[in-house]
Symmetry: C2
Subunit: 402 residues, 2 copies
């Protein structure tokens, strides 16, 4: 039988990252592809303890729960976000199946086909996928190392009258950048003036390398009416619990809760109970400090290897936090074409092209430094450098003989 | 700031059942409203044991997983569905956040605005909510105690050319009915002939009271090309784990997995690992037998109380399984209007009207018999009968004096 699918299926694409994950999960490939934390650093004992405490509290934790999620965990989040300067109340927060679901439900209740969203370029590709699946038109704003370039942002705000600006201002995915305070303020002021909502996606904010630095969330600068903010426990605790949250104007959260009722009634609430116990009994901030240190050391190893790589034309930004290096290679290197060769030789990355909303650069790639030990980073980077050197020299030969 | 929502938000409604649950969760109300299993019967120890085993297996279970869900649990489901006569392979199954998400993702990839779905009337209201949120037109098919009436089904298949027929053929929600084999076969034959897909929703199939009876799923009669089948661990193990699954033609499941990637990457996979251990180490079938016995006894208590209620005009169907009585009251009783009074006096139910796709009967209600102990059923039914008797006699007085 031939099945007639919905038109919106045309706009669904499988994620390049998740497809690569499928390959790399199968063998001995050293993968710098996914945005994965390190399995070895998961606080398994603390999670186990938190579940034990949940089980001891009896059957109630096993029953259906409110769509918005377990209220005491939302209270913990009010407190944790408060320490970042974001004022909220329990009613403004909904727990979601990872922050991915927060993006999806937001898009579901906000966007009609043809609506416009401004984004950085490149940006988080799974957000773009969601927006496209709702037939949203995505317009990239020129972006430099400090954030969106004000002139281009102002122009595009005026020209396109967007409904929303989607940003990852702190340790952005894929570029690992941090927006300056001025750029954050400028975006917020413009959004208020033009009555546009900012979607601030902050999965990596806790993974910062210079503890003396404060990167104020845009949502902390706002009175709460022009920003929605999402984050997750996936990077700080464990991904498998699939617990993220969204904070925003109550009117939006309320409608999103109705959409979530239809989508899945509620997320896994046993996980909510366990995360509540974990946040109250366990030194989560201490754990995050350990993650920062280990990930910083790994980042430094990868940085050294990038510096030592004899690849003229290679450039990168030093990440101030998060999980990724964004690398630009010599212009004639196509990372999409070379991925297969790299995987065969035993190392993987994500080609940069899929992260672009427009004007994709084929000579870019994203490298994750959190999932692999220093030894593996050494080995995997050795493989990658070899692959790219070979490609560069072949390209060179080709140019000589033609 | 005024927020501009998507047009589809107009089609989103908060579920009557979930709204009532919010009220009844606060206080001492005896609730026959939700489709809740009994907290006291949850296999807490077995779940705890299954999680312990998961924790012992180390960090891998805590990492991001495939969108389709943990493969060994899908293998267990191949086996369990096989015993019901449904042939499948791991690749035809996707794990979802409850079967609610299966309905939502299916609708998302299949339906364009204006597409037509045939349903029973009344039917599962949260499925109707999902379909409506995708602007699907729902056409009710005349339904008697054996299932959809063949003549009306044939007429409506011809007249409306639906894309899908949505059914809950075994212990239907809300009516607690079981379709006859003939009606199942007729629906399948018609669907094959007209190239229409059947969505078989089977959350309650395991909760059957006569163990000598076999109710063959429609999917077991099919070669796998014209049916999708969904079920859940919410009723047999615990709801909080939010683990359901969908089985269907690979082509549909594959596209649904792409939609799920965008929706939430994947469901809570720690729950998948735990459920895998639970299914292999624990006598789940024995546990289900206990549930059947306890729920059967409670159903019988409620039946006796309905029989004893002095409410001329009351009628109901004896459920052969599942969780609900569907009750019709004297015609002049409006259960929606009386709910508030009942809750104030200490007992809740769901008015029947919201379950209807057309021609709602205001004098109907759904009563859950699984969540409350026999004592509570006695007490709660006492309250309800009193409320309805009072309403009937007031109505009577009113008619006399006018």
């Amino acid at each position: 039988m031939r099945y007639g699918f919905a038109k919106r299926v045309q706009h669904l694409q499988s994620s390049a990252v998740r497809d690569i994950l499928k390959i790399t999960n199968k063998g001995d490939v050293i993968s710098f592809a996914g945005g994965l934390p390190d399995d070895e650093l998961f606080p398994v004992e603390a999670v186990q303890h938190a579940f034990t405490k949940t089980f001891e509290s009896g059957g109630k934790a096993f029953q259906y729960d409110a769509t918005e999620g377990y209220a005491p965990l939302r209270e913990v989040l009010v407190d944790r976000m408060g320490k970042k300067g974001i004022a909220s109340s329990v009613d403004d927060i909904m727990l979601t199946t990872g922050s991915q679901q927060a993006i999806d439900l937001f898009a579901r209740v906000m966007f009609n086909p043809g609506d416009i969203v401004l984004t950085e370029n490149p940006t988080y590709l799974a957000a773009v996928q969601v927006f496209q699946s709702y037939e949203v038109k995505i317009i990239p704003v020129e972006t430099d190392e400090h954030g969106m370039v004000p002139e281009d942002l102002d122009d595009k705000m005026k020209k396109y009258k967007p409904k929303c600006v989607y940003v990852v201002p702190t340790f952005s995915n894929p570029m690992g950048k941090v927006w300056s305070l001025e750029r954050r303020q400028h975006l917020l002021e413009t959004a208020i003036q033009k009555k546009v909502i900012i979607f601030e996606d902050d999965p990596y904010g806790e993974i910062k390398f210079d503890s003396s630095q404060t990167y104020t969330p845009i949502s902390a600068l706002d009175d709460g009416s022009h920003t929605v903010y999402t984050s997750t426990f996936s990077k700080t605790v464990v991904p498998a619990l699939r617990t993220g949250w969204i904070k925003g104007p109550h009117q939006i959260i309320r409608i999103m809760a109705q959409a979530k009722q239809a989508a899945d009634l509620h997320s896994n609430s046993l996980a909510h109970h366990a995360l509540y116990h974990l946040c109250t009994d366990f030194d989560l901030n201490g754990h995050i400090k350990n993650l920062r240190r280990t990930y910083y050391d790994r980042m430094k190893v990868m940085q050294r290897l990038l510096d030592q790589a004899e690849l003229p034309g290679l450039s990168y930004t030093v990440p101030k936090g998060g999980m990724f290096f964004w690398v630009e290679l010599p212009e004639d290197i196509d990372t999409t074409l070379l991925l297969n060769t790299a995987v065969k030789k035993g190392a993987a990355y994500v080609p940069g092209a899929p992260f672009y909303v427009a004007d994709a650069k084929q000579n870019t790639m994203r490298l994750n430094f959190t999932h692999s030990t220093q030894d593996k980073i050494e080995k995997g980077m050795g493989i990658l450098v070899e692959v790219f050197q070979e490609a560069a020299s072949m390209e060179h030969e080709y140019q000589k003989t033609n």
